[in-house]
Assembly symmetry: C2
C-alpha cells in the first residue's frame, strides 16, 4: 500500500457525505418496514417481483434477473425459492439452454405486485420525492447518475430503467 497524502474532506464535502451516509442508513430500513408491514415482502423481494412484472412474458432468466437487481446468483436463488414456495413465482428450465432457468411471475405474484405498488409509491413520495422541490428532483437525478457511473460503470442496474426514463 503506497503511503500517500490523505486528501481529507472539506467542510462542505463532509457535510454532504455525512448526510448522505445517514440517508443510506435510514432510508432502506423505512422502505423495508413499509413493505414488510403492508405486503409481507422485503424491499429486495419487491424489486424482484417488480422486475419480473415488467419483463416480457413476466419471465426472466435467473442470470438476467440477478444483474438487474444487483444480486449474486446464490442470493437470488434462495430468494426465488422462497417466493416460489409462497406461490408468487415459478421456475422452469429454459428451452434454448438447458443450463439456464427461467423465473416467471404467477397470477398471484402479479396480483401481489399490483396491490403493493401503490403503498410503495406512496412511501417513496412521502420520504423522498415530496420532500424535494422539482428542481432538486432534477438535481438528484443528475447526481445519482454521476455516482452510478462510478458504482456501476457497465450500467447493469440502471440500463434496465433507461428504457422507461429515456426512451430516446
Amino acid at each position: 500500500m503506497l503511503a500517500m497524502e490523505t486528501r481529507w474532506l472539506t467542510r462542505e464535502e463532509l457535510a454532504a457525505w455525512v448526510r448522505l451516509a445517514a440517508v443510506l442508513e435510514l432510508l432502506p430500513g423505512r422502505l423495508d418496514q413499509q413493505l414488510r408491514r403492508d405486503a409481507e415482502l422485503t424491499n429486495f423481494e419487491y424489486y424482484v417481483l417488480a422486475m419480473l412484472s415488467e419483463a416480457p412474458e413476466r419471465t426472466l432468466r435467473m442470470t438476467g434477473l440477478a444483474a438487474q437487481t444487483n444480486a449474486t446468483l446464490p442470493r437470488l436463488s434462495h430468494v426465488v425459492r422462497r417466493l416460489e414456495e409462497r406461490g408468487l413465482v415459478e421456475r422452469f428450465p429454459c428451452a434454448d439452454d438447458a443450463r439456464a432457468t427461467n423465473a416467471r411471475l404467477t397470477a398471484e405474484g402479479w396480483r401481489t405486485v399490483q396491490e403493493s405498488a401503490p403503498g410503495h409509491v406512496a412511501t417513496v413520495r412521502e420520504l423522498v420525492v415530496d420532500a424535494l422541490t422539482p428542481e432538486q428532483v432534477a438535481q438528484l437525478k443528475e447526481i445519482t447518475d454521476a455516482l452510478l457511473q462510478r458504482l456501476d460503470p457497465t450500467g447493469r442496474m440502471s440500463d434496465v430503467y433507461r428504457r422507461h426514463d429515456e426512451p430516446a
Copy 2:
C-alpha cells in the same frame, strides 16, 4: 386503509428515484467491502469506532452511541461485545447511573481508527465526492438535508455532526 387515488411518479421523478434506489443498493456494499478488506471492519463497526473516537474521553453511553449510529440497543450490544472481544473497545459501568454502561475506545481501537480512516476517506472520495462537481456537492447536501427532515425529524443522527459541519 383508505383507498385513495395513487399519485404515480412522473417520468422525471421516476428517473431520480430509480437511480437513487440503485445507489442505495450499491454504495453500502462498496463501503463495506473496502473496510472489510483493509481493516477487517464492517461499515457499521467503523462508524461505532469513529463516533467513540470523536467523543470526549473517547467514551459514550450505550444509549447515546445507539442513537448516533441509528442502531437498536440489542444490535449495538452485540456489536460492542464483538469489538470488545477484539480489544478495540472496553465497557464499564457508569458511575452516575448504575443502569447505564459506558463504552470506551481502547488504545488499540484508537490506532485502528487512525489507520483505517485514510482508506475510508479515499473510498468516499472515489465513489462519491470526486464524482461530483462542487456545485453538485452543495446540492447534495441540501437534498439530503431535506430527506433527513423526513427520515429523522428529531435529528438523532445528524445532530451529531452538525457540531462539526455548522459550528454556528
